[in-house]
Symmetry: C3
Subunit: 287 residues, 3 copies
């Protein structure tokens, strides 16, 4: 029998130390043995719905068509809805809690065509538990979708407008300065900003980066290894956004950056040459 | 050719930083290329046979039928026996060291129907090494079982009664108090106890939890997010046991709990209201 | 259609916290859906080309034939060449950056039969990015090779002699002492040395290990658990090299060892009995 979808991409904050991820794999395999499960990551910080949503949106253009299973769910067992959201006219279905986790991807693909609440107990695991919906509700729903179960068989349609919205911070331009923030710090300590290269049109090769309690001149570079020792680089990263980087060292650790940290980009004025550190009072943090 | 088993569930304390897990996958694939390997977890603390055995037992009801490959093996290379244990009348075969790791699952499924010692060199990797039996003995045995090799071809039968027994701590009731202990602290800091909800029949919604050097009133809650700020929750977790939890915070970190920590549940007396912390002298730790 | 290779073994320093590894899996699956991807490890320290190359060489004898995808690439986006290297007369093709990462394996298998630079844009992902060649260049090349694309279709042949050489440290014998170094510290704290058991012919059961600022008598043991409390063991590890070990404890933590640490093995003289710690001045570190 042909599968409707043959790939489930799985993201969570479960970590890999407990058996949560393995159990979800096993539940999927017991329902849909031919489906491939790709672990996008399970290393999202516990409860970090925003970070997980951004990770998903960032990777989405590179994912196989199919079902996305995403579980970061601090309100599991409460009235927050378990949902499945169809995007791209059925090219993909996103399964997870209605808490904003799926919203950035939905937005990226032009909104949901349909959405349902996962209430049909036929497609849940029989359980008294209310604390592991990834195992009991979301994984079975994802697997059954692959096997050809209709979206609307999983539960009643809900108005896509009623879904929890995406909270993606936008940068703000003011008097020639771009007020942005860190979206993501990766394993290497590169700090991705919510700033598009297009917004830097008109800036020189050197710009000034203003952090919480310091500022640094940075140079726009084509590669990590193009950053000289002691220099700070500003790079177009692999997802098309500006990132603050060092060569073989962590920019995040160096400047105390984490997701949500404010970063302002401004022109380098004549008194401030590359490499000079100046404590500054930063502008109010944009949201 | 049809496989006898098509899934190997793999648990170890190998971690994911070295190539141990990848090499085991590769050995399995070279013998049984069509078999799916599900990584339950490799994040068990090094040498923690008890923790690994409990993790396996906890997940077992959700695992695909097939072979379980479990390797936490501090005595590798000594006289401890490498074994394969058949349970459920052949529904599953457990492969690993005879050191108690497999015992909780065996017990859970009513004991072993058959067991063998893995001595047949035909089904081992040719090697001089005595320090990586996961690669050289256990993985090949698991893969060959999937390919249809008979259990008794792997080595001589051993009496199931001679297998290393399970060491699962039981709670103890005394004068209306339940003396239990922490079985597992998960990624979120939830502390699973060896206490069944049935044992709390007769207790109120609020109970007193007595830890090593403090005590707290806890409320029985249906969901993590039902725990108010500053409150402690007692929840039926996803494996049907009582767990001490906070909302979006680590109960284990808050109260210094780890696997093996003693926790006593008693009634809340009138002088002790929710939220009041009282240092206490705890009862001797039950085993 | 038959695959030319059906397995890709994947090693990197990407870690599992970000979505890098998942995205690479997804790119491979979108090109070569029937190919199995085995994650050897993604926990190599960031930028540690030497450590990654050694991990690959260590595991190579146990890997399925096919394609190896290896990405530790601090100079991504610069003039360092992306390459594919054929070894074993086509039994395996290694794909990654030409920075020495692949070199130990190539050396182990008697050198490259052919090598190409991955310049053909037809077999790359269309992208403006220059910071994630694992996704954009290496994964597509690996997947296309599996699907039957000819090595020489990926780009022009390069002279294998021009490839970045392996930097594997050799031990040095001097006046009856063997000057070696730590190649690898595993999860358990076992410290693998670049010393073969054959080099210890003529030494007694007890030898003296000289570390940076201390020395210890060690006993050659057949198993970790054969090391007595307080004793230090010297074992032939699962890859056939000597390793410094303790029983259920980290030798690396105990003696401050990490990859690259100098370790000298010498005979135990009469004044130095097992268990006595003597500060020493070590010989200059061999390279």
């Amino acid at each position: 029998m042909a599968l409707r979808y043959d790939t489930i991409t799985f993201l969570s904050d479960y970590g890999l130390t407990d058996g949560f991820v393995g159990v979800v794999h096993s539940v999927i395999r017991s329902i849909a043995p031919e489906v491939a499960v790709i672990d996008l990551t399970h290393g999202i910080e516990p409860y970090d719905v925003r970070g997980g949503g951004l990770a998903l949106a960032r990777s989405a253009p590179y994912l196989c068509p199919g079902v996305v299973l995403a579980v970061i769910d601090p309100a599991v067992g409460t009235s927050r809805r378990p949902i499945a959201v169809e995007i791209g006219g059925g090219a993909a279905v996103l399964v997870g809690p209605d808490n904003g986790l799926l919203a950035p991807v939905v937005q990226l693909y032009g909104g949901a065509s349909r959405a349902v609440e996962l209430t049909n107990e036929v497609y849940r695991l029989p359980t008294d538990s209310a604390t592991f919906d990834g195992r009991d509700i979301f994984a079975p729903a994802a697997a059954h979708l692959c096997m050809g179960v209709e979206l609307t068989d999983l539960g009643p349609l809900v108005d896509p407008v009623s879904l929890f919205p995406a909270m993606v911070p936008l940068p703000r331009e003011e008097e020639g300065r771009i007020h942005g923030e860190v979206l993501w710090v990766d394993r290497y300590g590169n700090a991705q900003l919510n700033i598009d290269p297009d917004e830097l049109v008109g800036f020189d090769e050197h710009v000034r980066l203003v952090f919480d309690d310091t500022s640094r001149t940075a140079r726009r570079v084509p590669a990590f290894a193009a950053v000289a020792p002691g220099e700070v680089g500003l790079i177009v990263d692999s997802y098309g956004l500006m990132a603050v980087v060092l060569d073989r060292a962590s920019a995040a650790a160096e400047f105390g950056l984490r997701a949500g940290s404010a970063v302002t980009i401004e022109g380098v004025d004549e008194d401030r040459r590359p490499g000079i550190i100046t404590p500054v009072t930063i502008s109010p943090r944009p949201v």
